[in-house]
């Protein structure tokens, strides 16, 4: 590493330690799949995985690889390709500490995290079994009005978050486009690891048209270039899902042998794909 900010994908993945509370975005927001492959290759363990607010193939692979001890998510789904088979199996086996959530509670908890406040209130939740099984969520009386019970959830401050984005500049600013949940996630996290499609010589903050959709470098710990780094998932308008690979994963991962076969194939792929 000549520059502390810029790293290889493997070096970047090396900053996710065993036992870390790791936040990752939903499938459409830019999932760092190449970096996830490095995590699996290294055999990371005991993660507290926070899916913002849901997870897909990335979470299912991490669970199948025994990398996850605690899972906090509103859902695990492969979208059109069905539910997460390794997730369902881990639930049956009881090997996961499951913290079922609901999407807005994950976002709100991260917003509390970015503000440095201990908890945040939000509507809904009361009377659901989601709430009943979250001993860390409480109901309080609205201190400003009578007869208004309201749910409060503790802030989430991940040790590290990791995502994939289209572009960064040489100063370490990262363009995230419409995916503003990535900015919230990074604000709340102590470290932020980003893989990108490319690095531009222009300064992204100097460009008024883009600056509002940029995560400033102060939040960013490391950046690595990973061409098509979200594949087999899509990245915005840049590339679509690799449907064949996703379908193959959905089929193979129904059994643990099939999952291992997928993993072997996936881990043997070159870092940079065509």
């Amino acid at each position: 590493m000549t520059n502390k900010m810029f790293a290889t994908v493997a070096e970047l993945a090396g900053c996710v330690h065993n036992g870390s509370k790791l936040a990752v975005p939903k499938d459409l927001s830019g999932v760092a799949m190449q970096a996830t492959r490095e995590l699996v290759r290294r055999g990371v363990r005991d993660l507290h995985l926070v899916c913002v607010p849901t997870g897909g193939i990335q979470a299912d692979i991490l669970i199948g690889s025994d990398a996850v001890r605690t899972l906090e998510t509103s859902a695990i789904s492969l979208g059109e390709f069905g539910s997460g088979p390794r997730f369902a199996e881990a639930i049956r086996a009881g090997t996961l500490m499951m913290r079922d959530a609901t999407c807005p509670a994950v976002y709100a908890a991260l917003q509390a995290g970015e503000k440095g406040i201990p908890f945040i209130a939000l509507r809904g939740l009361i009377g659901s079994d989601v709430m009943k099984h979250r001993s860390d969520w409480k109901v309080i009386d609205n201190p400003f009005a009578a007869n208004d019970p309201i749910a409060v959830v503790p802030a989430i401050q991940p040790d590290v978050c990791m995502f994939h984005a289209p572009l960064a500049d040489r100063s370490g600013n990262v363009f995230v486009g419409r995916q503003r949940e990535l900015i919230t996630m990074a604000h709340a996290s102590r470290e932020t690891l980003v893989t990108v499609e490319a690095i531009t010589n222009a300064n992204l903050i100097d460009d008024d048209a883009r600056a509002g959709a940029v995560l400033p470098a102060i939040y960013v710990s490391h950046i690595a270039v990973a061409k098509r780094g979200a594949q087999p998932l899509a990245l915005g308008n840049l590339y679509p899902d690799d449907e064949a690979t996703l379908a193959r994963y959905a089929m193979l991962s129904r059994t643990s042998d099939g999952f291992r076969q997928f993993l072997e194939e996936w881990l043997s792929q070159d870092l940079v794909e065509a």
């Binding site: 639930i91 499951m98 079922d100 659901s128 079994d129």
Partner: protein, 253 residues
């Protein structure tokens, strides 16, 4: 059923249920609700906004994933869709699983935003094509979101439930479903046989009206093209616009 498929019927019914809404939001994995919402918008002559999650063209959100939920809490979403692996007669929905918790024998993806949206959106339409006793149960195994609440801020809740067999309305006073109509080719007895809970039912239940030619033309033309952006495989299965020189395609049921 003649001249239209079940999917086309459901899309048309959804569009009717959305009449008068200013803003309809559609969540993930919802091709039929998405098509119904786009149809409702096209019939509203510019009065309705529709936000389709996962779409670039039909999604104006610029504040990230939280915007949908903030809009709901501010009362800026009039209608939304939820489903459920299990639904019971009090409108409780289960998106988590069956056979114990947390070690569920059958585990589904999870509650998504239901534990919030169900409380806040006035017109929640429960959409679940499978209408069997394994879905329509006496009591859900896990309450992802309750059908009703007491003493809690709750402007929202169930409005209707649409399945492959029938349309129900939810009576919030009585906390029960009322059978509104049965789809062509099905009967009240069939609905009863496949429902694991009691519901209200008039002596005579009308048949769900199907889409007329104007509506069908829109579904098979512009709506199909629009929904293809998010659900290409679903759109490919929707019947193509009919060439009048060709015989009508048999209904896909």
């Amino acid at each position: 059923m003649s001249g239209f498929s079940r999917t086309e019927l459901l899309v048309a019914v959804i569009a009717r249920l959305l009449r008068g809404c200013n803003h309809v939001a559609v969540g993930a994995s919802s091709p039929i609700p998405g098509s119904g919402a786009l149809l409702a918008r096209s019939l509203s002559e510019g009065q309705m906004r529709v936000s389709v999650l996962g779409s670039q063209r039909n999604n104006f959100f610029t504040n990230g994933g939280v915007e949908l939920f903030d809009l709901a809490a501010e009362g800026r979403i009039d209608a939304f869709f939820l489903g459920g692996g299990q639904i019971d007669g009090r409108g409780n929905i289960n998106l988590v699983g069956t056979g114990g918790y947390p070690r569920s024998e059958v585990r589904w993806p999870g509650s998504f935003g239901s534990a919030y949206m169900y409380f806040l959106v006035p017109r929640v339409i429960l959409f679940r094509e499978e209408h069997t006793r394994r879905v329509m149960v006496p009591q859900v195994d896990f309450v992802s979101a309750p059908g009703s609440s007491e003493g809690v801020h709750r402007p929202g809740g169930p409005f209707a439930m649409l399945t492959a067999l029938a349309l129900f309305y939810f009576d919030r006073e009585r906390r029960r479903f009322r059978l509104a109509s049965v789809h062509p080719g099905h009967s009240v007895e069939e609905v009863r046989d496949n429902t694991g809970f009691e519901f209200d039912c008039a002596a005579i239940v009308p048949e769900t009206p199907g889409p007329d030619e104007t509506i069908l033309t829109r579904i098979r033309g512009p709506i199909r093209e629009e929904i293809a952006e998010v659900y290409p495989r679903f759109a490919a299965k929707l019947a193509a616009p009919r060439d009048p020189s060709q015989p009508a395609a048999p209904p896909v049921v």
